[in-house]
C-alpha cells in the first residue's frame, strides 16, 4: 500500500481497516454497514483513537514531519466529516487561505481521490462516477472525487468554490457535486493575461464570494482572514527553506514521498498545522544533509517531475529510486510560485497569488518556471507524468519537450494515471523510465 507520504504502517492499519470493512460489508450484508469507510470517517472515536496513536507512531520510528502531516490531515478530516466547521469544497487551485480565513475547512475532492487511491478505495468511487454517465476520459482525480461524493465517501459541502484557470474538469465535476449537495456554487473567473486591472477584477470576485459565504453559511465570517494569510506566510517562509534544502546534491528527500505531500501543498495554505509540518520537514532535511544519510544511495541522476504520480501501489518508484539510483529532485507541483501575502489587503493578495500561477497563461510562463527549476535543482532530465485526461498539463508537452531539448535537457512523456490503475501499464512505465535513465547514462558515457 502506498502511504501518501505518511508512515506506511499507520496507513496500512487504517487502509486495512477501511478496505477490510468494505469487503466484509460486501460479503456479510447490512450487519457490517457500521464499519464501512464512509461511516468510519464520520466516527468521532476514530479520530480520537488515531490522534492518541500519533505518539506511539513516533516512538516506533515515524519521522516528526510525517506525524505532523497526519495531524494536519486528521484535524481537517475531523472538522469536515464531524461537521465541526462548515466544509467548503474547492478545486485544486483555489487559495485555501480564503476558506480557513472564513472559519471553514477546505476539502479538495481531487486530492482526496489520491488519498482514496492510496487506501485502495478509488475503484468504488470510479464506478460510482461511471454510473453517473461520466466518460473515462475525464481525469480520474475528478471521476474519483465526484464518485466519492455521489457514494457518500466524501463529507457534505456547505458550498463549492472553483476557479476557471488550469484544470478544466474541476469546474464541471464540482458543479455536479454542488448540485448533489444542494449547496451554493461559486466560480472565480481568472483572467488569462496578467495586469493590474485583471488582478483587481479577480480580487473583487474573491471579495464577493467571501462576503456572500459569510452571509449565507452559518459559522463563517470574515474575521479570521488576515490571520489565515499570516499563517500562510509563516508556512511559506518555512517551505522556502525546505525547497532550498532540496537543492542539495544528492537529494535529501525521496521525490516519490514528496509527490505524496502535494496533497498538503494544494490543501493546507492558511491552516495552523502547515507551518509546524514544514518546520519538522526542514529539520529532517537538515539532519539528513548533516549526517549524509541520503535516501537514494549513490545518486546517478536527478529528475524534475511534472504533474502528479500514481497514488496506488506501484513498483515504478522502487525501480527509479532503487534499481536505477535516480532521484526526483523536485516536482512542478511543489513549486511555491507566489510572493508572500499581504494580510492588510487579503483579496488583492489572494488574487495576485492566483494570477501568478505559472501554469496559467501562455506556455512561455510554464516553460520559464520549469527552466528555472531545472537550474535550481541541478536536474539532468525532465519527466512529464501524462495523466490520462489532463488537458492543462499534457497540452503543452510537445513545446516543453522541444524547448528543453534545445537546452540539452532530455524529456520523457510518461503516460499513466494517478488514480485509475486500469488506465496505465506498470511494466510499460518501468520500461520507459528505464530507457530514459539509460539515455541519461549514455550522455554521461556510463
Amino acid at each position: 500500500m502506498m502511504h501518501f507520504g505518511i508512515p506506511s504502517r499507520f496507513w496500512q492499519m487504517v487502509g486495512q481497516a477501511a478496505g477490510g470493512a468494505a469487503r466484509q460489508t460486501a460479503t456479510r450484508g447490512a450487519r457490517w454497514t457500521v464499519v464501512r469507510p464512509e461511516v468510519l470517517l464520520r466516527w468521532k472515536l476514530a479520530y480520537k483513537v488515531a490522534s492518541a496513536a500519533l505518539p506511539l507512531l513516533e516512538a516506533r520510528g515515524a519521522k516528526a514531519y510525517q506525524v505532523a502531516a497526519i495531524r494536519c490531515v486528521l484535524s481537517d478530516f475531523a472538522d469536515a466529516y464531524l461537521g465541526r466547521k462548515p466544509c467548503i469544497f474547492t478545486s485544486a487551485f483555489v487559495p485555501t487561505e480564503l476558506v480557513y480565513g472564513l472559519g471553514g475547512v477546505p476539502f479538495l475532492p481531487e486530492a482526496a481521490a489520491g488519498l482514496a487511491a492510496a487506501f485502495g478505495l478509488a475503484a468504488r468511487s470510479l464506478f460510482a462516477c461511471e454510473a453517473l454517465w461520466y466518460s473515462p476520459d475525464l481525469c480520474s482525480f475528478h471521476r474519483a472525487g465526484l464518485g466519492g461524493a455521489a457514494s457518500g465517501l466524501l463529507p457534505r459541502p456547505s458550498a463549492v468554490i472553483v476557479t476557471s484557470h488550469l484544470c478544466d474538469g474541476g469546474k464541471r465535476s464540482l458543479l455536479h457535486i454542488s448540485r448533489l449537495a444542494g449547496c451554493p456554487f461559486y466560480m472565480l473567473d481568472v483572467p488569462y493575461i496578467p495586469s493590474d486591472r485583471a488582478t483587481r477584477w479577480l480580487a473583487s470576485q474573491i471579495e464577493h464570494v467571501a462576503g456572500d459565504l459569510a452571509r449565507r453559511v452559518p459559522g463563517l465570517s470574515l474575521e479570521g482572514l488576515a490571520q489565515a494569510l499570516h499563517r500562510s506566510n509563516e508556512a511559506l517562509a518555512e517551505y522556502e527553506r525546505v525547497s532550498a534544502l532540496r537543492r542539495n546534491v544528492p537529494a535529501p528527500w525521496r521525490g516519490s514521498e514528496a509527490l505524496n505531500y502535494v496533497l498538503l501543498f494544494l490543501w493546507s495554505w492558511g491552516s495552523p498545522s502547515l507551518a509546524p509540518f514544514y518546520r519538522a520537514l526542514r529539520l529532517h532535511l537538515e539532519r539528513t544533509i548533516a549526517t549524509g544519510d541520503f535516501p537514494v544511495r549513490d545518486e546517478r541522476h536527478r529528475l524534475l517531475w511534472l504533474n502528479l504520480r500514481p497514488y496506488y501501489d506501484t513498483r515504478v518508484f522502487k525501480h527509479l529510486e532503487g534499481d536505477r539510483a535516480s532521484s526526483v529532485a523536485f516536482e512542478e507541483y511543489s513549486f511555491a510560485y507566489w510572493p508572500s501575502l499581504d494580510p492588510r489587503d487579503p483579496f488583492a493578495s489572494l488574487a495576485e497569488k492566483m494570477m501568478s500561477n505559472f501554469g496559467w497563461g501562455p506556455i512561455e510562463r510554464r516553460l520559464e518556471a520549469l527552466e528555472r527549476l531545472v537550474d535550481d535543482y541541478s536536474v539532468d532530465g525532465v519527466v512529464q507524468f501524462a495523466q490520462w485526461g489532463c488537458r492543462q498539463s499534457n497540452g503543452g508537452a510537445a513545446i516543453i519537450a522541444r524547448e528543453l531539448r534545445k537546452k540539452g535537457i532530455p524529456f520523457l512523456n510518461l503516460d499513466g494515471d494517478g488514480v485509475d490503475a486500469r488506465c496505465g501499464t506498470e511494466a510499460q512505465a518501468i520500461t520507459r523510465l528505464g530507457a530514459f535513465i539509460e539515455l541519461l547514462d549514455a550522455r554521461r558515457g556510463w
Binding site: 503516460d415 510499460q428 520500461t431 528505464g434 530507457a435 539509460e438 539515455l439
Partner: protein, 263 residues
Amino acid sequence: MGSTTTKAVLLSDGKLAGTHAMPTGVDLAAAADECLRVICRAAGVGPDRLAALVATGYGRDRVTGAARTVTEITCHARGARALVPSARVVVDVGGQDSKVIRLDDDGMVADFVMNDKCAAGTGRFLEVMAARLNVPLEEFGMRWRRAKEAARISSTCTVFAESEVISLLSRGVSPEPIIRGLCDAVADRLAGMVHRVGLGGGLVMTGGVSRNEGVRRSLEEKLFAPVTVPEGSQFAGAYGAALIAFELGEGAEMLPTFGRGCR
C-alpha cells in the same frame, strides 16, 4: 525476451556466432533457459564459456544469470545501428508494443516514444486480424501487393477493428483490400510516432512485424520515405543486447555469474 518470441544472439569475438528464436509461452524463465541451451549447443559452446549475458525485452527480469538487464529501447537502438550504420530513426514493432527511437550522430538514443495503452499498431493486432481473415501473416505482403485499394479500417482498437473486418467480410469485400487497410491502420499509428521524434536520416524497421512487407510498404507510403529492413531485423534487440554483453565481457574475463542461464 519478447512477449511473443524469445530470441538469443551469440557473439564470439564480437562476430555473430548464432541466433535462435522460439515462442515465449507462459513460463518466461524456462523459455529463456531453453533458448540459451539451444544456442549454446548449436554453437558448440559450453554454458560456462559465456563471458557475459545481457537480457532485454519485457521478460528481461526473468532471465537467470544475466549480468545486466537493459531496456529493449537501448538494445534495439544498438542493434539497428550495428545492422544499418546510417540508421537515425528506428521503428521497432513487436508483439505487444511498438516504439520509435531517434538516434543521435553517435548512435545513442536521443529520444523515443512508445505506443500507449492498447495493442493498436502492434504485432498482436495483426495476429488477431490474420486469424480472423484466416490468412497466414507471412502472406500479408503478397496480398498487400495484390490489393488495388485499401479498405477503410477506421478503428485502431483491436476489438473494434476486428468487428470492422467481420462486417467488411460479410459485405463480400475480399481479404486483399482488408489486409492493405489493416497495414495502413498500423502504419498510421507508427507514422504519427515517427513524426513525434522527427523524421530525418535513415529509417530502419526492426522487430517481428518488420518482416511483414505490407506494414513496411504502408509505412513508406505514409512517410514518403524509404524504410530499410535489414537481414535479421527481428533479432535487432537481441543483437543489441549481445553487443552490450560483448562490451561487458571484454576485460571482464569469465565473470562467475555468467552462464548460469544455461543450466
